[in-house]
Symmetry: C2
Subunit: 412 residues, 2 copies
């Protein structure tokens, strides 16, 4: 155990020993582990004999743009969207966010003066650290990304309010409101209230509310966040909210179901446009999920089983970082979600990732938590501990700590 | 049986009797019948215990943008795309066509001078009669639709060649090359060769080759069409071909798998862009399909079972139209696919559909076979006989014939 800074020679010799071990470990992505996936083994034989939805619909045939009501009902409360305003769609929420941007580019949103493609400038607020796939999506469409710091209760709302009030080019904000990727932060009630009620210069401003970890608790305490869509609706701002969610980290990653929730005006806009794209989502998979999860209680029991598998991995990361780095770095202690955000000495995150890679430990690229992959402080590293076995997580974190110490010692 | 034209009074009295029967029949959409869907009952319990693809991939987790090789292999020959150039994607081919247009609008295609969104004008050639969902999609993006007549061996190629050679605004053509929707026409070898080799003014011209009925034979004779992608590749035009297909009318409509085939340059363009949208398709459903269909022979046996169920319906339509209308109308006798195209007296198709609706027989809106729903001759009606029971098909067609006779008699 080495919690005091070490000299370069010691750090180098520790690192040489690490490289000599020839590890091959991967902490890059927030993937469920095979044991987590085993929890949903029942899905592989479902729906079995059954092919009728509760309303009599033959799920094997065309139709049903909104998705099955019995599945939407299971997720309505968790996603804080009235069931009649919640759609069950395809196999991911990322594609729904992508398509929401695409449709807004090519067709006027409710309240918009023009299509985003015809705007002189489209910008999104990007709370940082944040989710690299959000940023990649905005970047792909040439959308300007304006960074906003994340505080302990969500984005810096003073700054957010000021920016959206004065700049009509700001059309959206990325939010992961619960157990945020990567910091684990959950938005405070006041943050949510301010997002719902703030004045925006753009009439077609949208909050992309990616509630990816709505039920992904790591402890007995189930964090609740305020109801953004409800609050926004109360004050006449219902149209500013796009809610996204999925079962990717509940059942299967890629073979799950994505959800989209919004106001009636937004849903009319959305369904009118996607009706040109699809005759309906995979209702067999939706029925499969409804039969497997059964109801809200079934969902809760299922998520507790996930927590039992992954909470020890999060605890191990915290324990080993404490042992190995002490106050040489800081890191988050999330109560849910899939990530730990590690803050190392400024100017060393890239070097840590490079050193780790050479020692056979794959980490998410430093900077991935920031737009364009550029973390100005070069200090943030996202740790994704869910996929490897517990012993691998321990080994990888201990090895990473060696890299953190060497990078700091080299910096002098 | 009434094959000679009838006077208005007889026609009116026949129609009054029809209305009096209070039918409720639907020939609108090309949907598989429940008995056809029963053929794939095995899918409902698959993949069972298995969750590894042949290459060891855990299909329950993220990844695999191209889709499973074992499924692509089953469809490569039928879709005439080398397996390494064929992607297995989401639950429909319509969404792949939609997204191909979207991506071309927002990102420069290989060979393009600019994005389609930045073109002064984008036009598609639309062989008519054609598929209404193709036209709705092009219309939604403001793409101009230029009609081209369908002949017995495909689109009028003299006209197609002339138009694409002189007009750089023409960026695409919709084709359903085998058992076309709605005429049942299969493209002749010479048509395919000319499409592959013709000179186009647009450097980014694309043939949207919707091979929706590649294996959907109604008879023992399996129509083969020439290999567009192969021919185009031979003459250096590989990039002009986008091949689409799906299992929507093989297994389940909505819970099947869509395919996209193209040149390497097009695939690099496509996968680079969809990687911002998705982490991968539903590989569990792809494994399910691969296990169920097994191989090309399994697919052939499965499609013969479909033909046994639907060929009698097509035969009944032909028999009843012959009995009831004789030479008062003409109609196609397709060797595959899902539709019969009925040509009634000019200026009466809309009236036939209206009369049928009032008598409880739902037909696809007249004009749906043409861009903007406008058939200038008002003469084409698409008949979709697969979904209803045989006795219902017979009843509906006999009732529709009453409407055809009345509309003609009213016209005088």
């Amino acid at each position: 155990m080495t919690t005091a800074p070490v000299d370069v020679d010691t750090a180098r010799s520790d690192y040489a020993a690490l490289v000599g071990r020839g590890l091959k470990l991967d902490l890059t992505r927030g993937k469920p582990s095979p044991r987590q996936l085993d929890l949903s083994a029942g899905l592989l034989k479902l729906p079995g004999e059954q092919f009728k939805a509760e309303d009599g619909t033959d799920v094997r045939n065309y139709g049903g743009l909104k998705g099955l009501a019995e599945l939407r009902r299971i997720f309505a409360r968790a996603l804080q969207v009235p069931v009649e305003q919640l759609l069950a769609q395809g196999n991911s929420s990322l594609e729904l966010m992508h398509d929401a941007v695409v449709q807004a580019m090519l067709s006027k949103l409710p309240g918009a003066e023009r299509r985003w493609a015809d705007e002189p400038r489209v910008a999104f607020l990007c709370p940082v650290p944040g989710y690299d796939r959000h940023f990649a999506l905005t970047e792909r469409f040439g959308i300007e990304m304006i960074q906003v710091p994340m505080n302990d209760d969500g984005p810096d709302m003073d700054l957010v309010e000021r920016l959206v009030a004065e700049d009509a080019g700001i059309k959206g904000i990325w939010c992961v409101p619960k157990y945020s990727n990567p910091s684990g932060v959950s938005f405070g009630d006041e943050t949510v209230r301010r997002l719902a009620t703030m004045t925006t210069a753009a009439p077609d401003f949208r909050i992309f509310w990616d509630n990816a970890y709505a039920v992904h608790h790591l402890t007995e305490t189930e964090t609740e966040i305020a109801d953004l869509l409800g609050l926004a609706t109360e004050v006449g701002n219902a149209d500013r909210v796009f809610v996204f969610g999925s079962t990717s980290k509940i059942t299967y990653a890629g073979a799950g179901v994505g959800f989209f929730g919004a106001s009636e005006a937004n849903l009319a806009w959305w369904t009118g446009l996607i009706a040109k794209r699809t005759i309906g989502p995979d209702k067999v998979n939706q029925l499969r999920h409804a039969l497997f999860l059964r109801d809200e209680d079934g969902l809760r029991v299922h998520m507790r089983a996930h927590a039992e598998l992954i909470a020890p991995k999060f605890a191990a990361v915290d324990r080993i970082l404490t042992e190995e780095l002490g106050d040489q770095a800081s890191w988050t202690k999330p109560a849910g979600g899939y990530f730990i955000s590690l803050t190392v000495r400024e100017g060393t995150a890239k070097e840590v990732v490079r050193l780790a890679k050479e020692a056979g430990i794959a980490l998410t690229p430093a900077g991935a938590t920031h737009p364009h992959g550029d973390d100005p402080a070069d200090a943030t590293i996202r740790i994704a501990p869910t996929f490897p076995d517990l012993s691998e997580v321990e080994e990888a974190i201990r090895g990473m700590a060696v890299c953190v110490r060497l990078a700091a010692a080299q910096k002098g």
